[in-house]
C-alpha cells in the first residue's frame, strides 16, 4: 500500500513540474499611450490630437517655449507673436513641407551658427554659445515630433523582427 502511494506521489510530482514548466508568462496590460510618454503637445492644427513626447522631445519643447516660440509660432505665452514682424517670415516649427526636407545636421548648424552663416536671414541669431548641443538637438527632436505632415527619417529600415 505504502509503495503504491509512493508511486502515485512520484507521478504527481512529475505531472506538476511538467505543468509548471509549460506555464505561459502572464500577459501585461497594454498601457495608455500617454501614460508612457514623458510629456505631450497638442497638434498645432488640431488641438484634439495629442502628440506624445519622449524625454528628449520634452526637453526640446521646454527650450522651444523659452527661446524659439517668439518667432517660430503664431501664438506665444505672452500673447502676440513676433513672427508677422519679420521678413522673410520664419518657418513655423511644425512646418513639415519646409523642415522635413532639411537634415538634422543642417538644422543643428543653423541653430548653432545662425542664419547668416548658412546663407539665410541674419534675423535668425546663433544660439551655439547660449544653448548646449543637447539642448539644440532636443529642439530638433521636438520639431520632428510635431511636424505636419509627419517627419519620416531618411533610410529608416522597416522593422523586420518581432521579439517572439
Amino acid at each position: 500500500m505504502r509503495i503504491r502511494n509512493f508511486g502515485i506521489n512520484a507521478l504527481l510530482i512529475v505531472a506538476l513540474s511538467a505543468a509548471c514548466g509549460c506555464r505561459k508568462p502572464a500577459e501585461t496590460a497594454k498601457p495608455d499611450a500617454l501614460l508612457v510618454a514623458y510629456d505631450s503637445e497638442p497638434d498645432w492644427n488640431d488641438s484634439t490630437k495629442i502628440i506624445s513626447l519622449g524625454y528628449q522631445q520634452a526637453q526640446g519643447k521646454r527650450v522651444f517655449y523659452q527661446y524659439c516660440v517668439w518667432c517660430h509660432a503664431d501664438a506665444t505665452p505672452a500673447g502676440p507673436s513676433n513672427r508677422s514682424n519679420l521678413t522673410p517670415v520664419p518657418a513655423l516649427l511644425d512646418d513639415g513641407p519646409t523642415l522635413n526636407a532639411e537634415s538634422d545636421e543642417y538644422l543643428e548648424n543653423i541653430i548653432t551658427l545662425g542664419g547668416s552663416a548658412m546663407g539665410k536671414s541674419a534675423m535668425m541669431p546663433p544660439y551655439g554659445r547660449s544653448l548646449s548641443t543637447e539642448e539644440i538637438r532636443s529642439v530638433i527632436a521636438f520639431t520632428r515630433a510635431i511636424a505636419e505632415p509627419p517627419y519620416q527619417p531618411p533610410g529608416r529600415t522597416r522593422p523586420q523582427y518581432s521579439p517572439k
Binding site: 513540474s17 514548466g21 502572464a26 501585461t28 510618454a37 523582427y161
Partner: protein, 712 residues
Amino acid sequence: MPAEEMGKITERMRLVFAVSSLMFLAALAISPFKDYRREWKQYKRSYLRFAQVRPDTKRLTADYSPDIDQIWLPGMNVVDRCTTCHQGITQSSLADKSVPEPFRAHPPIPHNVREWGCTICHRGQGPATEVAEAHTSTLAWEQPVLPTHFIQASCGTCHQSDLPQTPQLARGRRLLAELNCQGCHKMQGIERPAMLGPDLSSIGTKVSREWIYKWLKEPRTIVDKDGNVTVNGYETEEEPRMPKFRLTETELRAFTAYLGVQKAKPIPPYTISPAVVAAWSKNPELISQGELRFRQMFCTTCHSLAVTRAGETKLIGGDIGPELTKVGSKVNPDWLIAWLRDPEGYLPHTRMPRYGWSDEDLYKVTQYITTKLTDSDLLSDVPKLDPPADAEIQLGRRLFVEKGCASCHVLEGLNPQKDFGPDLSALGGKNASELEFGAAKIPHNLVSYIQAKLEDPVSVNPAARMPQYNWNQADLDAVTTALLSMKGPPPTSAFENLVVPHKESSFRATGSFAELYERYKCYSCHKFNGYGGDLAPDLTYEGSRAERQWLVEFLESPQTLRPTLILRMPQFNMSDKDAATLADYISTVLEHPAVNPLTTDAKQFTPAMATLGKQLYEVKYQCQSCHTIGGSGGYVGPNLNNAGGWLTPAWIEAWLRNPQTLVPDSIEPRRNFTDEEITALTAYLMTLRAGIKPQKTAFHTGARASEPGAAR
C-alpha cells in the same frame, strides 16, 4: 521467514525501485527543460537572434552573456536585473522607435543608466526576472512601474530643488504651496508661508453674513448667462485657493453666524474730505473718471476682471490678488476705503502695496468699484438670514476648528489643530495595500488612489474631511507627480548624500529702503537675490543696469519697456523723496560684481563709433528682429528707444559680452562680438535718447486703456 519468500520480496522491491527511479529521472529531465524555457532566457535568446539581423551585430553582442545581468548598487539597495531582458538599453543604434521592446535603447538622459540602474527612476521590482513581477504589482512584490507620465516624481525624490527639466514636478510643488496643502498636511520640502488664507479676525467688518454664506457654499464666484459656474468666472488654469467644503444648511448658518460677528481688530475708518465729496458726488463724470484711474493705476496687473466679448466671458488681468468683477457687491464700502489706504492695517502679511492715494482718487476709484463692479443678483440665491443666535455662533466656532478652517485662517483666540490632515511626506513610497480604497471602483495602485482622492476626496473615504478642489487634468497630474516624489527620508546614507536640498532664498532689505520695500511690496512681483515674485524683472542687479535718473523717473511714472506686455507696474503715486530713496538704494546696493561702472566712460564714444554701431545693429546682426527702435522692430526684447537714458554703458558692454552672466535665464543669444563691435554697439545705443519721455502723470494712456486688457 524462508529464504525463498525473502527473494520474492526483494525481486518486487527491485522492480518498484526501478520504476520509481525511472520516474524520478523523468522528473529531473523536466527541470532543465523548464530552466531552458524561463521567460528571461527566451528574451536573451531572442536578443541574439535580433542582433543577427542588425548591421552592427558585433557591437550589439559584445557584452552578451547567457546569464542574468544585473546592476548592483549596494549603497542604495538597488539590485536591478532589468538589463537581463532590456539588453540594448545603452546601444545608441537601437534608439529608433522601430526597434521592438524590450531591446530599444533608453533615450538620452542626464544620468548614465548603467551607473544608476532602472528602479530608482522607474520603480518596479529590480530583482524580479519575470515580466509581470518586474512591472506590475503581485502579491509578494507590490511596487509597480511608475507610468512615464509621472516619472518626474522620481527626479524630485533626490532633487528637492527645482530642475528646469522637470516642469510638471515644479508646477505640482508650486500648486501644493499655493493651495496651502501644508496648512493641514506635513509634506517634504514645502514650507508653511507666513500667511496661508486671509486672517478672519475682523471678517465681519469686511463682508456681510449673506456673502459668507454664498462663498462657503460655492467659492467660484461667477455664473455666466447660461448658468455655467466657472472657476472665478472663466475657464481658468488657476484653481482658486479656497476649496469647496461639503456643508449642510445648518453648518452654513452656523459658520456665517460665527464669522459675521468677527470684528476683533477693525480697521480704523477713514473719512474722505467733504470738500472732495461735494466737488465730485454730483459730477456725471465721477464713475468714468474712477474707472480711468483704476486702469491708469494698473490695478489689473494683480487683479482680474471678467470681460465678455463676442459672447465669451474671460478673466483679464493678473492673479496675484483676487478677481474683482463683483467685489462691489462683496465688500463694505467703508472697509474698502480703509483697506485701500492701508492694507496691512487689516491683513498683516498681505501682498497688496500701500498706495499714496489722494482723497480725490480714493473717492473716484471706490465709487467706481462700488457702482460698476457689482452684481445685484450675486446674493439672490442666499436664503434670508436672521440676526445670528448664540447657539449658531457657538456651533460655528466649534465647526471652525473641527473642519480644519483654523489650519489656514487665523482667527483671534483660536489655535490651529496640530497635524490636522495625514502626514504626506512619505505618501509617494506607499504600497497599494497600505492605502484605503473604500468602495471606489478604481485600479488599486498609488497613482489612481492619489488622483481619486484629489478629484473627489469622499470617493475613497466617505468620512474624509478634505475639501473639494476643482482641478484641470494638467494640474491634477502635476500635483500627483509632486506627491509621488515625496518618499520620506532616504532609505540609505548613500541615498541621503544624493539628495539635492531645496534652498530657501532670502533678501533682507535694510534702512529706509526696507520701509518702502514693505510699503510698496516690491517683492510681490520682483525678485531680489532669488526671493520674490516672478511677474516683473529680477531686480537683483538693477543698480548696475539702470541709470539712477531713469529709475527715479520710472518709479514716479512707470512705463513699459516691452511692447507686448499686458501687465504693467502700477502707479504708486510715489513722492519724489520716496523715489529718490529707492533709486539711491538700488543704484548703490543692487550691483553686479561683473559690471564695473568705472571701466566704461560714455565720453569715450565718438560719432564714428556710433555710426559703425548703427550699421552693425541694422545690417550685420539685424537686432531689429527682436528690438524696437523708433516705430519699427520686433517685440521679443525690450524696446531700445531710450536705451541711452535707461541703461548704463558698463551694463550694455557686459551684456553684449555675455547676457547670461548678468541674467542667467535671459533668452538673448550670446554672440561672438569683437571688442571693437561691442564698443561700437554700446556707443550707438547710448545715442538713443529721443524715445518715450517719462511723464509725471499717466493720463495719456487713458485712450488705450479704455477697456480692460487693451493695455497691450
